[in-house]
């Protein structure tokens, strides 16, 4: 019964999405809004080509390296800043400024200085991830349970042990949301760099399809990106639930 109701729910959602789509296609017919079946056809032929998977792999590679690099930088810098009140105050204004600047404005600078290679995209997504994640790291350190800080003083825990047994695990347990957001942003930035600067991957292909006025293909790429985005999101949600069990049951 449960499975049946679930299935029928998704069927209804699928049907409704189809109807909304076709209604949109009807309204924007003149502009060339494609029928859903045309896009479906395009997607099936696209995923059969090896070049699509090469582009996909390039985007994933860029996002992953940007993500890991950014997380590493944010953790190190965040610990340095967050563990010391004075440094934290000094860095606050600068970090706020960096956070509100849309990072794409750095793309022209990167293109001018190092070109449109994959490296440009990796650097940019690492920057985006680091500037996103560092706020979570600093907030995580600040949110460390006061009683645990007291306890670690009472049992005379040495400085290194305080970092490894108190601040680091406490902070990491609060970082689930930040990780998930950072991963989506790493992927988004890899795509954006492709669209704007032509760095390798799905983004550049999307831009090319649009430049060639191949509407079906534009939709197909956007769909592929949407699926990837959903997969990344649910992957990180699962990871979070598994890693931070204690948080859920507290």
């Amino acid at each position: 019964m449960n499975l049946v109701s679930k299935l029928s729910k998704y069927l209804a959602i699928g049907l409704l999405s189809f109807l909304i789509w076709e209604a949109a296609a009807l309204v924007v017919r003149g502009a060339g809004f494609p029928h859903s079946w045309n896009v479906a056809e395009e997607i099936t032929s696209l995923v059969k080509t090896s070049s699509f998977w090469a582009d996909f792999a390039a985007t994933i590679w860029i996002s992953t390296s940007g993500f890991l690099l950014g997380i590493l930088v944010a953790l190190l810098l965040g610990l340095l800043i967050g563990l010391n009140k004075n440094i934290e105050i000094s860095a606050r204004g600068t970090l706020n400024f960096i956070r509100v600047i849309p990072s794409v404005v750095l793309l022209p600078l990167l293109i001018a200085s190092i070109g449109s290679s994959a490296r440009t995209a990796v650097i940019l997504s690492a920057f985006v991830v680091a500037s996103t994640f560092i706020t979570y790291v600093i907030r995580g350190i600040a949110d460390t349970e006061k009683q645990l800080i007291d306890t670690s003083r009472l049992i005379r825990l040495p400085q290194y042990a305080q970092i490894f047994f108190l601040y680091l695990p406490s902070t990491i347990s609060l970082l689930g949301t930040g990780m998930r957001l950072s991963a989506s942003r790493a992927f988004g930035t890899a795509v954006t760099a492709g669209i704007v600067a032509g760095t390798p991957g799905l983004g550049a292909r999307l831009y090319m399809a649009q430049a060639n006025s191949d509407v079906n293909r534009v939709f197909a790429y956007v769909f592929a990106m949407g699926f990837t985005g959903v997969v990344i999101y649910s992957l990180f949600t699962r990871l979070e639930n598994r890693l931070f069990k204690w948080k859920i049951s507290v």
Partner: protein
């Protein structure tokens, strides 16, 4: 290194004053408090909530420094937490490290101390056995009930063979049956080890049942209004001790001085 003969410390609190700054103004919490605790004595500190009991023991523990006066343990002035200190608070759920297993929580005080791995292991399992948790060593705090979590906190306090044990409302969050059980457990342990013990509680019965002496904090800023010896026979037995006429008389006496 191992001390086979345990003995508690002496504690002197002399003309203690502590204030907090609130909105830029200093608000005195405790002013002119003095008392002594002799080695191995169990002293209960009573008083209404918010009177400054926790502030007092936190300063004795070396977590906050007084504005005036002195706290000395075995004639040494307290400036930071002393080495052999056990501390148990009401919030067991927040004072255990959730990402460490029970045994790792209990072993944590040994970090940075010179003590062999083998000895650590023995001491940890000893402490766990003392609180009856030998079978839960590998579990995580969130897998335990409240009473069991508080036992872990007690084991962590005992593992360093404390010379001073501070219990800050240790049983206030527990239901009454667990509470009576843990009172006896702690009483038994501190008596066999001769540990000097400070028990903060708002529960008069608990204070009388456990302590050799009870002091009452009252007034704003607070100082000690009465200092009452509890001459009930030991070992104490829950229902028997609590129905002793002397117990009831002490209870009335304390009640009056808290209200005063």
């Amino acid at each position: 290194m191992s001390q086979d003969i345990d003995s508690g410390v002496t504690l002197q609190v002399n003309d203690l004053a502590i204030s907090f700054s609130r909105n830029g103004q200093d608000v005195p919490v405790i002013d002119g408090l003095s008392f002594d605790v002799s080695a191995g004595e169990i002293l209960a500190v009573c008083g209404q909530s918010g009177i400054g009991k926790s502030t007092l023991v936190r300063s004795i523990a070396g977590l906050i420094s007084p504005h005036r006066g002195e706290i000395s343990i075995d004639s040494n002035v307290v400036r930071e937490p002393i080495e052999n200190l056990g501390f148990v608070t009401q919030d067991y759920s927040r004072s255990l490290f959730p990402w460490l297993s029970v045994e790792k929580n209990v072993a944590l005080p040994f970090k940075g101390r010179e003590i062999s791995k083998a000895e650590r292991k023995v001491r940890v399992s000893q402490a766990l056995a003392e609180v009856g948790l030998e079978d839960s060593a590998r579990l995580y705090p969130w897998q335990l009930s409240g009473g069991m979590q508080q036992r872990v906190a007690i084991a962590r306090a005992l593992v360093v063979k404390p010379k001073l044990l501070i219990l800050d409302e240790p049983f206030a969050s527990l239901d009454v049956y667990v509470r009576l059980e843990l009172e006896d457990l702690v009483l038994n342990l501190v008596q066999t080890h001769g540990t000097t013990t400070l028990l903060v509680t708002h529960d008069i019965d608990e204070a009388i049942y456990m302590a050799d002496r009870v002091i009452v904090l009252s007034g704003t800023p607070a100082d000690s209004t009465s200092d009452i010896s509890v001459n009930l026979p030991r070992p104490r037995v829950q229902m028997e001790t609590r129905s002793n006429p002397a117990f009831l008389q002490l209870r009335n006496q304390l009640h009056a001085s808290i209200r005063a």
